[in-house]
Amino acid sequence: MSVVDPIAGAVERLVRFPFNALEYTNILLTTEDAVVGATPREVVWTHRQTTLYRYRSPDRRYAVPLLLVFALINRPEIFDLRPGSSLVEYLIEEGFDVFLVDWGYPDEEDADMGLDEYVCDELEWAVRETLRASGAEELSLMGWCIGATLCAMYCGLDRGGERPPVKNLALLTMPIDGRNSTYANWVADEDFDVDGVSELYGSVPGSAIDFANKMMKPVTNYWTTYRRLWEGVQEGTARREAYQSMAKWVADNPPFAGKAWRQWIRLMYRDAALLSGRVRLRDRSVDLGRIDQNVLVITAGADHIAPRPGTMPFFDLIASDDVEHFDRPGGHIGLVAGSAARKELWPAMAQWLAERSDA
């Protein structure tokens, strides 16, 4: 290396700076135009804010349909992020009949929507409509984050001895005991008036939920992400579509229905009531010991939202004989939606489902 090289490099970067700056700002300013959730789908059923969608497989090979359930924060489009990087697209190519429940955008008038309503009404009815639409007797449930906890609660709900029509239960980055998480440090203190805040807001604004999520890793979320994008632009390695689709999804934050929010904080961060079987929905007990389905649990090693230790007690509670655990490196969302997932995790998930999805 000669002395001239670093100088030439610096001059080149200086000359390219205006172009790079333009490209960088263009990526940030046109993020809203990114294509998210593009796989063709049809509406099967709606109720209040909830919509059930169906993604028909051109080559359906499995009799048991798959119902995807996302969290009550952010949008379920993470299952179908962008063409070429969509779990839904992958699953329908593999021959699954895929349904997705979308909780919509709850507003002040939905303040009365609690976990009771989400589990006993919306999810119960979404399952019913999925079975009617697909003509199947049983389905596979795949929940992610809070959606996974809702699925577990649905399967553990007292039905007077009847079994829910669920054959397979796949739970991705599911919180069961949140008492040792960063969230718990913020909201577990009884001085924090969750009832007051939820009553004042009606539904807790999505921007507040997003702010709290980002504050868990403030430097990474508010600085490093943008710095890395700038470096990528300078080096010519920035992946515009990948960045924009994820950034658009992250910025789309529906409100959290007030009643569900305060119930969630109590049962997850204050009481961990799911562990002791003290959760009651519509006066029906929720006992995870009733879960006897084929169960797949996926945890992420670097998950700071639903840390792995908060999921592990689940295995001691359930009654299933067929239990599988995939523990992978990765974050809460990146584990399943990241670019590496398509090569390793999605095929493993599809294989697990395929082996258990014949009528």
Partner: protein, 115 residues
């Protein structure tokens, strides 16, 4: 020069590595900070204050709107809640109708197969 040829970093790479180390340490320090209960208390108080201010401003605007004989947010929320209650009832009625229709179809199939 000989050092660099042996794989040592250039000054630019050293600066970048130093920067990334500083950023990583700052990130860890902030994560430790937000993990403290005192930060949680600060966040909780801010959330409560923001919620109260939001409600007060909504109520103020609503009062103005109502005095102008226009529907305010509270009126729209009340109407939406009524619509939701109607939709809840309709959904339950629909499910009962579908269940009865399935029962009738099942009975008809059973009668048909017996005869």
């Amino acid at each position: 020069m000989a050092d660099r040829q042996n794989g040592a970093q250039s000054p630019e790479q050293q600066v970048r590595a130093l920067y990334e180390e500083a950023e990583s340490n700052t990130a860890k320090a902030f994560e430790a900070l937000v993990n403290k209960p005192s930060f949680g208390r600060l966040l909780a108080l801010s959330a409560e204050n923001t919620a109260a201010l939001t409600r007060m401003s909504f109520d103020g605007v609503d009062l103005l709107w109502r005095n102008l004989r226009l529907a305010g947010r509270a009126d729209i929320v009340r109407l939406s809640k009524q619509l939701h209650r109607t939709e809840d009832k309709l959904e339950r009625v629909l499910q009962e109708v579908e269940k009865l229709r399935d029962d009738v179809a099942r009975d008809r199939d059973a009668t048909g197969s017996r005869s």
